[in-house]
């Protein structure tokens, strides 16, 4: 399977959406709405779920299932109020000591006029800043598309997992090809080099585990729920200051070993 095929698999309409993961993984889920500043963005769903009995704050991007639902949810591309809602709920989780689980499947933060007007960049930046020091465990899973900053804004976590057919990328292969080579047809070449598959991201330390898709998705989702429970329990047993230090170092180390000191030979 080529890397671009992986991108297509991540985008597939057959793929379960965030809320389908929630219903497979949680015995209960109660949605909580709104960012308390501007509105409620249906592209991001948040609330409290029960994971094997444990109350967790759960947040996902949601692409929608029916055409109407997809349009309402803007195909899972969030506006700033979506990221601000997520942060509000994460701070609520911190207040009550609830672990946070984020499921990510978005082609990216929405690139629109209102999104810019309301500070898309600022909203994402604030999440990156605040998530780094939230005093509860955070686990994020790229379940499908991990579209650039719009995905990262929910993925500053202690543990980041990715499904086998996910794609976590700084830019879409089409976008990359059209910018660099003025030819969107080079998307396959771009995909091969953007290091966006789970297999390539694992050795780079960007993800910590690949969730295999070797069973029907219903089973995969249930298994993910069990694994998440174990992981959250493990993280909860770690002293919070040690956990925050590890979270800082997790991102601090990104790319450092790829830098050369001195001499200009490439």
């Amino acid at each position: 399977m080529g890397d671009f095929d992986r991108v297509l698999a991540a985008r597939s309409a057959e793929r379960p959406t965030g809320l389908q993961f929630f219903s497979a993984m949680f015995s209960e889920f109660m949605e909580l709405h709104g960012d308390r500043r501007f509105g409620d963005d249906p592209a991001i769903v948040g609330g409290i779920g029960r994971l094997n009995g444990m109350a967790v704050t759960a947040i996902c991007t949601e692409k929608g299932r029916t055409t109407r639902d997809k349009v309402r949810r803007n195909f899972g591309s969030a506006h700033p109020e979506g990221y601000r809602k997520a942060l509000r709920l994460m701070k609520q989780a911190e207040k009550f000591g609830r672990p946070i689980i984020c499921l990510i499947d978005t082609s990216g933060a929405f690139c629109g006029l209102e999104a810019e007007e309301r500070g898309q960049g600022q909203a994402i930046a604030e999440n990156l800043l605040e998530m780094m020091t939230l005093r509860v465990p955070i686990v994020s899973v790229i379940t499908g598309e991990g579209g650039s900053g719009g995905a990262l804004a929910l993925a500053v976590a202690d543990t980041v997992w990715m499904l086998e057919n996910g794609a976590y990328s700084v830019i879409s292969p089409e976008g990359c090809a059209s910018i660099l080579w003025k030819n969107a047809a080079e998307k396959e070449t771009a995909a091969e080099h953007l290091a966006l598959t789970a297999e390539k991201l694992l050795p780079l330390g960007i993800i910590d585990r690949i969730i295999a898709e070797d069973e029907p998705m219903e089973q995969v989702m249930k298994k993910l729920g069990c694994l998440l429970y174990q992981e959250v329990e493990r993280l909860r047993s770690i002293n919070i200051d040690d956990l925050l230090e590890a979270r800082y170092q997790r991102f601090r180390s990104m790319g450092t070993d790829k830098i050369q000191k001195g001499t200009e030979e490439l």
Binding site: A109, F110, C111, G112, L113, A115, E116, E117, R118, G119, Q120, G121, Q122, I124, A125, E126, L128, L129, E130, M132, T133, S148, G149, L152, A153, V156, Y168, S169, V170, I171, C176, I179, L180, T189, A190, H193, L194, A195, L196, L201, L204, I206, R247, Y248, F251, R252, M254, G255, T256, K258, I259, Q260, K261, G262, T263, E264, E265, L266
Partner: protein, 293 residues
């Protein structure tokens, strides 16, 4: 690979100043005149330099190199550079990346897109990062991420304020998802410096976009911009392609962001030094530290 440009003719003095945009052709062979992109006026090069590369006819703030900015803004002789020897590598074997790095290293005279170090302004010491439009338009990869992270870490250790100038087209695609991670990496260091009470002032210059806007550019305590600077998450072209509409004039310019509450101030280049000096002064504590550090 070896930089294959050693036989090309030496850069002339104006190119060294970095006022040319990447790839821009010299507009007159002898470089006596420079054309303002905004009002098309032909300007005397020497006069323009004295005007801090602000068009005396229309006030357009032209892009300037990191070194020029450091030279014109900070106390003379105060700048001590940090980490000048860090080099990006082509760890994803991305087609054309080594050539591009070599080309921009030669063209800009810089090793990558940011210059960092220690400097002072009106006697106030500060840790600084200044991004360079001449190096892949400040495209953010591992080197920029590492250098700016170190600025905040050192500033926290040495109890210094941080002054940062941003200019960026976004994340560096040639470094794949690792370049995306630089947003979180730098943000972590910004947060630690901030939680210790450190002061961070950002000046957003034309253009600041993508992953830089969605991370450290927007994370400052005091956020300023130069007049007319484009400041965006998604650039205007991407938005027009997404929504199939023309954008209104002035959209995503500094003045637009100020009006929408995302900037503290717009400061013209000739007022930057005095503005930064005053801000640092407000935060100076009796023991000589800044902020609550």
């Amino acid at each position: 690979m070896l930089n294959g440009n050693i036989f090309k003719k030496a850069l002339n003095s104006l190119e060294e100043t970095g006022i040319l945009r990447p790839g821009a052709k010299p507009q007159t062979p002898d470089r006596l005149y420079i054309k303002c992109d905004a009002c098309k006026a032909m300007l005397l090069a020497d006069e323009l330099r004295e005007h801090l590369y602000v068009c005396p006819k229309c006030g357009a703030h032209m892009r300037i190199s990191a070194r020029d900015r450091i030279h014109m803004l900070f106390d003379e002789g105060s700048f001590q550079e940090w980490d000048a020897d860090l080099l990006a590598t082509d760890f994803l074997h991305f087609p054309g990346y080594p050539e591009k790095l070599a080309e921009y290293r030669e063209k800009s005279g810089e090793k990558d897109g940011v210059v960092t170090g220690l400097a002072s302004i009106g006697g106030h010491p500060c840790a600084i990062f200044v991004m360079d439009p001449g190096f892949m338009i400040g495209s953010m990869g591992t080197v920029i991420g590492e250098k700016i992270t170190r600025v905040f870490e050192r500033a926290a250790q040495q109890k210094l304020p941080v002054i940062g100038f941003t200019v960026s087209g976004g994340a560096r695609m040639q470094e794949g998802t690792t370049s995306l991670m630089q947003m979180a990496k730098v943000s972590g260091a910004v947060k630690r410096h901030s939680d210790q009470g450190g002061l961070y002032i950002a000046v957003l210059t034309d253009p600041t976009s993508g992953g830089v806007t969605a991370s450290f550019a927007m994370e400052a305590d005091v956020l300023m911009a130069e007049p007319g600077a484009l400041i965006a998450f998604a650039g205007p072209r991407v938005i027009e392609q997404t929504i199939h509409k023309k954008l209104p004039a002035g959209f995503q310019r500094a003045e637009f962001l100020l009006e929408h509450g995302f900037l503290d101030k717009i400061v013209t280049r000739d007022r930057l030094r005095v503005t930064l000096k005053r801000l640092l002064g407000y935060h100076r504590q009796e023991d000589g530290s800044y902020g609550r550090l």
